[in-house]
């Protein structure tokens, strides 16, 4: 059965000042799939996210998104002016109505239920990331878009955040488009990786991408080794749109390979 494509970017180009920010980029996010964008700084990851969100128009190529789907967006930064008084509860219902019980439950999912009445200006970096994720999750989106969800979060917290995203996907079957720098953690929790450096260097299942020569050149052999120790099955080759169950992240995992039922 062919899975529904939520986002479909073909030959996407964005040119700014004569420079290609995005160069003939093909990215697809299916329903129920976690797609991760990795790449060096200035590779155009955030721009690609903005295209998927409909905030940026392509200069070339085509962009298609299933009409009428509900979007949940967790931006990398929210530059909230300190003069705007805002409680976590109010922030959670910024773009949608929700009952107190629903807000509480969403905050519970990210393990910060005690922050409901706190001012958002008093949150630490890690708490803010969790609250931002809870807000996007509360929307029960069809497509969750998260840009660097683990900035200012320690490794344990990062693993937890990717687990929350995986749980939401499992519970609602939403598609996820994610930008991440945490190569070692995120790879275990993703179905499809696009390695971006203006153009798509390589794409596919994390295990395959980590063996790609261009990926190794961009991130160094160390990154590839880190990835190789993560659970993946060797008895399958993966088509670019091959579906693989998202794994659980185990930091410090050694070379025992987990074989997931397919």
């Amino acid at each position: 059965m062919k899975r529904e494509r939520l986002v479909d970017i073909r030959e996407g180009c964005i040119v700014r000042g004569g420079r290609h920010i995005l160069d003939r980029v093909d990215v697809v996010v299916h329903k129920g799939e976690i797609v991760t964008l990795v790449g060096p700084n200035g590779a155009g990851k955030s721009t690609l996210v903005r295209v998927a969100l409909g905030l940026e128009k392509l200069d070339g190529g085509t962009f298609h998104r299933t009409p009428g789907i509900k979007i949940g967006y967790q931006p990398q930064k929210i530059a909230l002016d300190r003069t705007l008084p805002l409680s976590v509860r109010r922030f959670m219902t910024l773009t949608q109505a929700a009952s107190d019980a629903e807000v509480k439950e969403a905050l519970n999912e990210v393990a910060v239920p005690h922050l409901m009445e706190a001012s958002v200006h008093t949150l630490s970096g890690g708490e803010w990331q969790r609250v931002k994720l809870a807000r996007a999750v509360l929307r029960r989106p069809d497509l969750l878009v998260v840009d660097e969800p683990t900035q200012n979060v320690d490794t344990t917290g990062a693993v937890e955040i990717y687990q929350i995203i995986a749980r939401l996907r499992a519970a609602t079957g939403c598609g996820v488009l994610m930008v991440s720098h945490d190569l070692n953690v995120v790879m275990a929790a993703t179905d499809q990786v696009y390695c971006l450096n203006s153009h798509i260097c390589c794409a596919g299942h994390p295990a395959d991408v980590s063996r790609d020569a261009e990926f190794q050149r961009l991130f160094g052999p160390a990154a590839a080794t880190t990835l190789a120790i993560y659970p993946h099955s060797h008895d399958h080759s993966h088509a670019p749109d091959g579906s693989v169950q998202g794994g659980h992240a185990h930091p410090g995992h050694d070379h025992h390979h987990h074989h997931y039922p397919h």
């Binding site: 409909g54 967006y73 705007l84 773009t95």
Partner: protein, 268 residues
């Protein structure tokens, strides 16, 4: 004589309270969105609007609103090109409009033109049709602001999130700009072109200390603005000081008080 005094004092107070009711909530957005300079630009363009209104033989308020709308739409259009930052664009718009306004005014020697009244406002000279303008502005601005409130807050917290999640639209921003133009046009009557922005930002800044929600801050700003108007008019009567600057000075005093009270609250 006493009834005359009563009636123009009452008119001044009514006009000032009406304006403060609108500038309070709107001023909060000016503070949150860091648009103080936008308020200045609108009011500087107001002089050009007055001159155009007089030249075309329509009410100056119509001219002010019209130029304000043009400035607001120009700014939105210009922001879409990203070569120049917003404050540079505003500086260009603001000062070109002011310069054009001063040139236009210089052609109006034959018209009786109270430049000082427009620059500094003359709340004690508020006439009945001014009151009608202000009442009309309140009736137009407050319900519209209430209608777009949630979306405007979402856009203010994070424009990308609001747009991506379908909770905001460019039309909301345009509506806000139109409300600003209307508000500045009527506020000029009270405090004059040079001091309009004060009525937008000082009450809002004073209310910040006590507010825990955007709505609370908007209500607080309206109340503080109204108190400043009442205090300023009273002072103007008592000591024969110019009315517009007196209102602004009263607002500044209330802001200073809010700092002290906020500090005391924090220690408590």
């Amino acid at each position: 004589m006493e009834t005359l005094l009563d009636s123009f004092a009452a008119r001044a107070l009514l006009a000032g309270l009406g304006v403060a009711l609108v500038t309070g909530p709107l001023g909060c957005f000016v503070v949150w969105r860091r648009m103080a300079y936008f308020g200045d630009t609108l009011s500087h363009a107001g002089l050009l609007g007055v001159a155009l209104g007089l030249a075309l033989g329509v009410d100056p308020a119509v001219g002010i609103i019209a130029t304000g709308l043009v400035i607001a739409l120009l700014l939105i259009a210009l922001q879409h090109q990203r070569r120049l930052p917003a404050d540079t664009l505003l500086g260009i718009l603001s000062h070109s409009a002011l310069a054009l306004g001063l040139i236009a005014v210089s052609f109006m020697e034959q018209v009786r033109f109270d430049l000082m009244g427009y620059l500094f406002g003359d709340i004690l000279a508020v006439a009945n049709d001014d009151l009608l303008w202000i009442a009309g502005a309140c009736l137009a601005v407050l319900p519209t602001l209430a209608f777009i409130w949630r979306r405007l807050i979402a856009l203010t917290v994070d424009q990308d999130v609001a747009l991506a999640e379908g909770a905001g639209h460019i039309s909301v921003r345009i509506a806000f700009m139109v409300l600003m133009a209307l508000t500045v046009a009527v506020a000029m009557k009270i405090v004059g072109i040079l001091l309009v922005t004060a009525l937008l930002i000082i009450p809002a800044a004073a209310a910040r200390r006590f507010a825990t929600s955007p709505e609370g801050m908007a209500a607080g700003a309206a109340l503080i603005g109204m108190a400043a108007v009442a205090g300023g008019i009273a002072a103007s009567f008592a000591w024969d000081t110019p009315s517009g600057p007196s209102v602004v000075t009263a607002a500044a005093l209330l802001f200073a008080l809010s700092l002290a009270a906020g500090g005391a609250l924090r220690r408590a």
